[in-house]
């Protein structure tokens, strides 16, 4: 029982991203920070145990969980049926507004308008799953290893459009790049979930309880204000 172990050892190990601003990134001191990191801190605080942050990538975050090297994965995970066969998900802890972005001179208004275009996306991210679902037949999707690849591909002109979170796009805009990613249309508001191993009902219940409390007592809203610059949406 993972929860018992956590309480016994007085430490919880949580996998967080470090290449996905504003959810997980690093400061000049190379310490992780971001929405997911604050969420991890919140959970550890509520459990009253020490927090052990484990930086992961999209390729290895699930193996970390499966080999018991971490107890939770807070890594802006999106949920689908296939994934649910492998791990369990808590209730949603963060909103994720993802959309298709591109320079002003490219006119696209909806998914159908993507026909014949090339869109860059971060492989395995929420927007990858969602865009794949709605993509017209002759849309070319280029899937990059991490967010950095996706952004670099857009900035260097290797793809015309990218699908990503609006906060990510805002982060790019903030750096005033030669190519400005403007919103073309929203794909879907698909929230993020915390992942944990199957057959851990106690831990799942506990984390769900912490999320529920945080939603009502404004803690989660604070995190949202801090990293996303917006209130937590009511329907989360």
């Amino acid at each position: 029982d993972a929860l018992a172990t956590i309480e016994k050892d007085k430490v919880i190990r949580i996998a967080v991203p470090q290449d996905f601003p504003p959810f997980g990134t690093v400061g000049a001191d190379m310490e992780p920070k971001g929405y997911d990191v604050d969420m991890a801190k919140l959970i550890a605080g509520k459990l009253g145990v020490k927090l052990d942050l484990v930086p992961v990538t999209s390729a290895n975050r699930i193996p970390y969980l499966q080999t018991n090297k971490v107890d939770l994965v807070i890594s802006s995970l999106g949920k689908n049926a296939e994934r649910e066969k492998v791990i369990d998900f808590t209730t949603a802890y963060a909103p994720f507004f993802n959309g298709v972005f591109g320079p002003a001179d490219v006119t696209v208004k909806d998914a159908a308008g993507l026909a014949g275009k090339t869109v860059g996306v971060t492989r395995g991210a929420v927007e990858d799953l969602e865009l794949t679902k709605i993509a017209p037949a002759d849309l070319t999707i280029k899937r990059y290893e991490d967010n950095n690849g996706t952004i670099s591909a857009f900035l260097s002109g290797q793809v015309e459009l990218i699908a990503t979170g609006n906060v990510v796009a805002a982060a790019i805009l903030a750096r005033n790049p030669p190519k400005k990613p403007e919103i073309k249309f929203l794909i879907k508001n698909s929230p993020c979930f915390i992942g944990l191993n199957k057959n851990e009902p106690a831990l799942l219940a506990k984390v769900n309880e912490i999320i529920a409390t945080a939603k009502t007592d404004g803690a989660l809203d604070a995190i949202s204000q801090k990293w996303l610059g917006a209130k937590l949406p009511a329907d989360l």
């Binding site: 690093v26 400061g27 190379m30 484990v54 290895n60 499966q66 080999t67 950095n148 982060a171 790019i172």
Partner: protein
């Protein structure tokens, strides 16, 4: 997001490069020891030793190091063995280096003329004596340049340990790029640091090789 100065970038990359250096040292030295043991099994008489080493080399030279690292770290975890990342990275890199070093060294031993074996046999020396006094001293000399040359591959190979959570030079490059959105500066610096680590090794390998060729003619 803008708090990174170029100095911050460089400082963080250099700090991460310490891991690259440490990992390289561990894998090179460890790989050398394991490689030497494998070498003896490979060139010795008997059936099992050579066959085992051949299969070993085939496996480690026939699959991407990336996959080896992944399976070493998480595969062992699945079997219930909890290895820390540095240990898994070290072990995988050591086994990988050993496969290459043992092949390099075998080539060197086999490059020693048959006449040397025969002359030492005819003087009454046994296998171990021949190896110790006649073959290895000569093989060692010709092995130095390619061995030093291979250390460059080890340094570059450490880049792949990021898959198991190691923040060494390459990974630090990616992480910092994500925080700064300055891929050109960051990757330029990363390439530069790698070059500074590797080039002296390549160069000394070349110099050693040239020296050896000259030394071969007159001492």
């Amino acid at each position: 997001m803008d708090e990174f100065t170029t100095w911050d970038i460089l400082r963080n990359l250099l700090l991460a490069a310490r891991w690259t250096v440490l990992l390289s040292l561990v894998s090179f030295i460890g790989g050398g020891l394991v490689g030497a043991a494998l070498l003896f099994a490979r060139i010795g008489s008997g059936r099992i030793g050579p066959t085992f080493v051949k299969a070993y080399v085939e496996l480690f030279q026939g699959t991407p190091l990336l996959m080896q690292l992944f399976l070493a770290f998480f595969g062992l975890g699945l079997l219930g063995v909890d290895v820390p990342a540095w240990l898994a990275a070290g072990v995988a890199l050591i086994l990988w280096s050993a496969a290459f070093l043992t092949e390099i060294w075998r080539g060197c031993v086999e490059a020693i003329a048959r006449g040397q074996w025969e002359a030492s046999s005819s003087l009454g020396m046994g296998y171990v004596q021949q190896m110790r006094h006649v073959i290895l001293p000569q093989a060692l000399r010709i092995a130095v340049p390619p061995t030093v040359g291979f250390s460059v591959q080890v340094v570059k190979g450490t880049a792949l340990t990021s898959i198991i959570g190691f923040v060494e030079l390459s990974k630090a490059g990616t992480v910092v790029t994500n925080a700064t959105f300055e891929p050109f500066t960051v990757y330029g610096l990363v390439a530069l640091i790698y070059f500074c680590l590797c080039w002296p090794l390549s160069k000394s390998s070349q110099i050693l090789e040239r020296k050896l060729n000259v030394a071969h003619r007159n001492h």
